[in-house]
Symmetry: C2
Subunit: 491 residues, 2 copies
C-alpha cells in the first residue's frame, strides 16, 4: 500500500444513533436524577455504580425481541473473551448480587443511574445510548417489596414534578397471566414460543389496539407498511380466554380481583398470583396510595421474558400532541417487576428480586412538556473588554462577582469588535453586561447594562412608558457588585 501523505480530514460527526447534550439539557437531567436519588435514598436504597463494560457471558441474552447471540449489544473480542456495553442495569445487578453474595446485606437494596447502550437501528428520537435509573430489592421474596417499589415510584414521580392527577401506576402479576395461559392450554415447555408471542402481543395493546392483539394471538398481523408479523396460532377459544384476561379490569380494584379469580379457576399459580395482587393492594392502601394512583390492571404484562411475579408500569395520563397534532396520552415512563431467576443463572440458587427502571429521557421529556424544567439556563454576567491592557482590572472585577457567588466571566474572544461582545452576551442569555473603558477607569465608574430589560425595551420601543426607563446605569466601581445584585434580584 502506498503511503498517503496527505490524509483526508476526519468528519466531525457523532456516530449514527448517538447525540450530544448541551447546557440545560444536561443540568435539567442532573437535577431530576438528584431528586430521584433523594427519594430512593430515603427509602433505604444504596447507590451502586458498575462499569459500562461487562463480559458478554455475564450479560446473558435478555434483550427483548432479540434472538441472535450478541445481537442488540455493542461487543468486541478481547483475547478469547467477548466484552460488551451493558444494555440495561438489571443484568449487571444480577452479576453483582452473585459476585458479592457473601458480603452484601440481604436483602440488598440498590439504586443506580447511568447510560445503557443498545445496538439497534437508530430512528427519529431513538438513540443507541440513553439513561436508565433503577431501584431493585434483591433477596426479598415478600410482595411487600413489590408494593414498596410501586409506592416509591409514585413518590418519585411527584418529587420530580408530576402531579398526583397526572400519573397512574398499573400493577399486574405474571402468575395470573401464567394461570390464564394454563387455563388456555398454553403451559408446558413445548409452548414457550407461543407464550412469548402472546406476551409481546399483549404488551403492544397500547399501540395495536384489541384487534391488533387478537390478530397476533391468531395467525398474525400485517402492519400498515405491509410487513407481516407471525402470530401465536391460537384457536378461537384459546384467544378468547387471553382476550378476556386483558379485558378484566373493572373500576374497583376488588371487582378486578374477583374477575381475575374467575378467569384463573383451576390454576394454582393463577390463584397465587391473584392473592399476591390482593396483598399488594392492601399494603398500598395502608400507606394511603389510593386506587386513583396505583391500580390493578391485567393488561400490563411488560414484554421481558424474565419476569416471574408482580409487574408494574407508570403511565403519565396527561395529553400531548402526537406528530400529527392529535392529542394522546403521554404514556409509559417507568416499569419493572419481579424476576426471581436472574441471579440463579450465576449461582444455581434462586434469589428473589424485584425492581423498577425509569426511562430517564422519557420522564425528562414529560417534565419539559409540563414546563417543569429550565430549558434555558441563565447565562453569566459578561464583563466586556474595551481596553486589552486593562485585562487585570477586568479579572479583578470578575473575581469580585464570582466570590459573591454570581455567575460571571470576562469576554475572552478577540475584543476588537465591541458588537461581537454584545452578540456573544446575547447568545449566552446573559442578564448583564459590564462596560469599562479608559474614561470609566479615569472616573472610577463602570457602566452596567441590564440586557433583559434592554431587550424588552427594544421589543416595545414605541410604548411611551418604556422610554423613560433606563436600561444602562453608571455606578462607582465600588458599587458595581451591589448594582449587579439589585438587577439580578429583580429578574
Amino acid at each position: 500500500m502506498a503511503k498517503d501523505k496527505k490524509q483526508p480530514r476526519p468528519k466531525p460527526v457523532t456516530p449514527k444513533g448517538f447525540r450530544d447534550y448541551f447546557g440545560a439539557e444536561v443540568t435539567a437531567r442532573t437535577e431530576m436524577l438528584t431528586k430521584i436519588a433523594g427519594v430512593y435514598h430515603r427509602y433505604g436504597f444504596d447507590a451502586l455504580e458498575t462499569s459500562a463494560v461487562e463480559t458478554v457471558e455475564a450479560l446473558g441474552k435478555f434483550l427483548p425481541d432479540v434472538d441472535r447471540p450478541n445481537e442488540g449489544v455493542f461487543a468486541w473480542e478481547e483475547d478469547k473473551d467477548w466484552l460488551a456495553l451493558r444494555y440495561d442495569m438489571t443484568a449487571p445487578l444480577a452479576r453483582v448480587a452473585a459476585q458479592y453474595r457473601n458480603d452484601l446485606p440481604s436483602p440488598y437494596r440498590r439504586y443506580t443511574m447511568g447510560p445503557v447502550w443498545r445496538n439497534e437501528k437508530p430512528g427519529p428520537g431513538r438513540f443507541r445510548q440513553f439513561y436508565q435509573c433503577d431501584a431493585d430489592t434483591v433477596g426479598a421474596a415478600s410482595v411487600a417489596a413489590d408494593a414498596e417499589i410501586c409506592a416509591m415510584l409514585a413518590d418519585t414521580l411527584e418529587a420530580v414534578g408530576i402531579d398526583k392527577d397526572d400519573y397512574v401506576i398499573r400493577v399486574n402479576n405474571r402468575k395470573v397471566l401464567n394461570g390464564v395461559m394454563e387455563v388456555a392450554g398454553l403451559s408446558g415447555d413445548d409452548k414457550e414460543a407461543e407464550r412469548g408471542i402472546v406476551l409481546r402481543a399483549i404488551d403492544k395493546l397500547d399501540r395495536l389496539g384489541l384487534e391488533g392483539v387478537r390478530a397476533l394471538l391468531g395467525e398474525g398481523r400485517k402492519d400498515e407498511s405491509g410487513d407481516f408479523t407471525k402470530g401465536a396460532g391460537l384457536g378461537g377459544e384459546q384467544a378468547d380466554i387471553i382476550m378476556g384476561f386483558m379485558d378484566a379490569k373493572r373500576d374497583e380494584g376488588a371487582a378486578t380481583v374477583s374477575r381475575l379469580r374467575q378467569l384463573v379457576q383451576g390454576s394454582n399459580i393463577g390463584g397465587d398470583g391473584v392473592a399476591e395482587l390482593e396483598d399488594i393492594a392492601g399494603l398500598l392502601d395502608a400507606q394511603s396510595y389510593g386506587s386513583n394512583r396505583i391500580v390493578i390492571d391485567p393488561s400490563v404484562v411488560r414484554g421481558l421474558g424474565y419476569y416471574t411475579g408482580p409487574v408494574y408500569e407508570a403511565e403519565l395520563t396527561f395529553e400531548i400532541e402526537d406528530e400529527k397534532g392529535r392529542p394522546r396520552n403521554f404514556g409509559s415512563v417507568a416499569g419493572g417487576g419481579r424476576y426471581d431467576d436472574l441471579v440463579k443463572r450465576f449461582t444455581g440458587q434462586a434469589v428473589p428480586a424485584t425492581g423498577v427502571s425509569i426511562g430517564v429521557d422519557r420522564l425528562l421529556a414529560a417534565l419539559h412538556a409540563k414546563g417543569r424544567t429550565d430549558t434555558t439556563a441563565q447565562g453569566p454576567v459578561i464583563i466586556t473588554v474595551m481596553d486589552r491592557d486593562r485585562m487585570a482590572d477586568y479579572q479583578s472585577m470578575v473575581a469580585e462577582l464570582r466570590n459573591a457567588g454570581i455567575r460571571s466571566e470576562v469576554y475572552l474572544g478577540n475584543p476588537k469588535n465591541f458588537g461581537n461582545q454584545l452578540k456573544y452576551a446575547d447568545k449566552r442569555h446573559s442578564p448583564i453586561a459590564i462596560i469599562a473603558g479608559g474614561d470609566e477607569f479615569d472616573q472610577g465608574v463602570v457602566q452596567i447594562k441590564d440586557l433583559i430589560l434592554g431587550a424588552e425595551i427594544a421589543k416595545n420601543a414605541t410604548l411611551e412608558e418604556w422610554k423613560d426607563r433606563p436600561s444602562q446605569y453608571e455606578v462607582p466601581r465600588d458599587e458595581m457588585l451591589a448594582k449587579v445584585r439589585e438587577i439580578l434580584d429583580k429578574s
Copy 2:
C-alpha cells in the same frame, strides 16, 4: 457442533481492569462532582455531555505512549466504520467544536464530567474505566483564558475541601520548552521523535529523578526490572541545556522568568513563551492568587504531544504514606494546557483552545486521605418485622418516617429469625431499629432501639457510667416519629 444442552453457568465477575463502586463510594464522588460543577458554572462554563461512543476517525490518535492504530482504545467495527469508547474528554470536545461551529457561542466554554475508557494492561489501582472532569475554553487566543483556568482550578480544589496550604498549581509554557529545544538544536521536522522522548522524559521527573531523566535524554535507561527504555540520544551539551531548563525554577516568580529568558535567548518562540508566562502571573496576581498557590515551574511539561502553549498541573503537597510506609507528596490531581491544533484536524482552521482535566478518582482519594468525605453513609432506620400479618402496620410506620424525610425501611427479608434482622441493621449501619409485636400493638406502643448508643454501651460495658443509660425506649405509637427524630439529632 453438538448442541450442549446443559450450559455451564456464567461466571459473576467484573471484566479485568473494571470495578464496581458501592454506596458511599458513589455518593461521595457525586457530591464532589456537584461541587466542582458549581465552581465551573459560576465561572460561566456550560455543561456538555457527549456520548461514550465516537468514531475512531474523530477520536484520532492522541493517547500518550501509544503507537499502533486503535491501541489503547476499546474499538469495534460496524459496517465499514470503526467505533470506539472515548479515551478522554478533549477529543470529543474538538469534534463538537468543529461539528457545531456555526451554532456555538465563541468563545465556547464548556465543562463535562463522566467516565473515559483506556484499553491498557490493568494493574493494582489502575483501572480501564475512570472518571474525568474537564473545563475548556475554545476560541480564546488570549492567555487570560489560561490564567482563568488556573484560578478556577485553585477555587475548585478549595471548594471540594483542599486547604490553601495543601496544593500548588504549577504553570509552564510549551513555547519556552520549544525555545529551549531550538537552542539545543532540536527544532525541525526531522527531530520530532527526539522531541517526543525529551517531553516524556521531563514528564517523568517526579518518578525517575534528575538522573533518570538525564539517562533518557542520552542513550537510554534500564529500570529496576531490567527493561531498557531507549533515550533521545542527545549529546552532552544538548542534554545540559535541557537539564538547565528543568532546573530553572527560582524561589521568586520574577527570578524564574529572568532565568528562562536567558535560557531561550535567540529563540523567538521561546521569548514569546516567557512573555506569556509573565502575563499569566500578572493576571493571577490581580486576582490575589498569590505565588504560594500558583507558581511558574519549568519542570512541568505534561506528556501529551498536542499542547502548544501554557501547560498547568495541580499538585497536592500534603504527605501520605506510600505502599512501603514512607512519606511522600500526594502528587498531581489535575492538569491541562493550551492546544491550538485539535479542532483544526477537522476544519483546517486553527482554533485556539485551553483546558483542564481533573483526575476524579485521584482527587477523591485525596479527600479520603484528608478525612473530607463520608466513607460510610448513614444507614436507614429499620422497622423490624415481629409479626408477618402486621406488614400493613409496619408499612404505615415507615411511610410516616419517610414523609418526615427520615431514611427508613421495613425489613423485607425472611422475618423468622429476629437475630438476622438486627444483624442486617448492623450491616446497614442503621442508627435505629423499631420493634413492635403483638404486645406492643395491643398496648399502642413501639420499642425504639438506639443502635449507635447500644454499640457504645456494649463496647464499654464495664464502665459504671454506661450502665444507667438505656439504649431502648418504649414510647406510644404516636410519639414514634418525635423520639426517632430526637435520637437522630443527637447522633
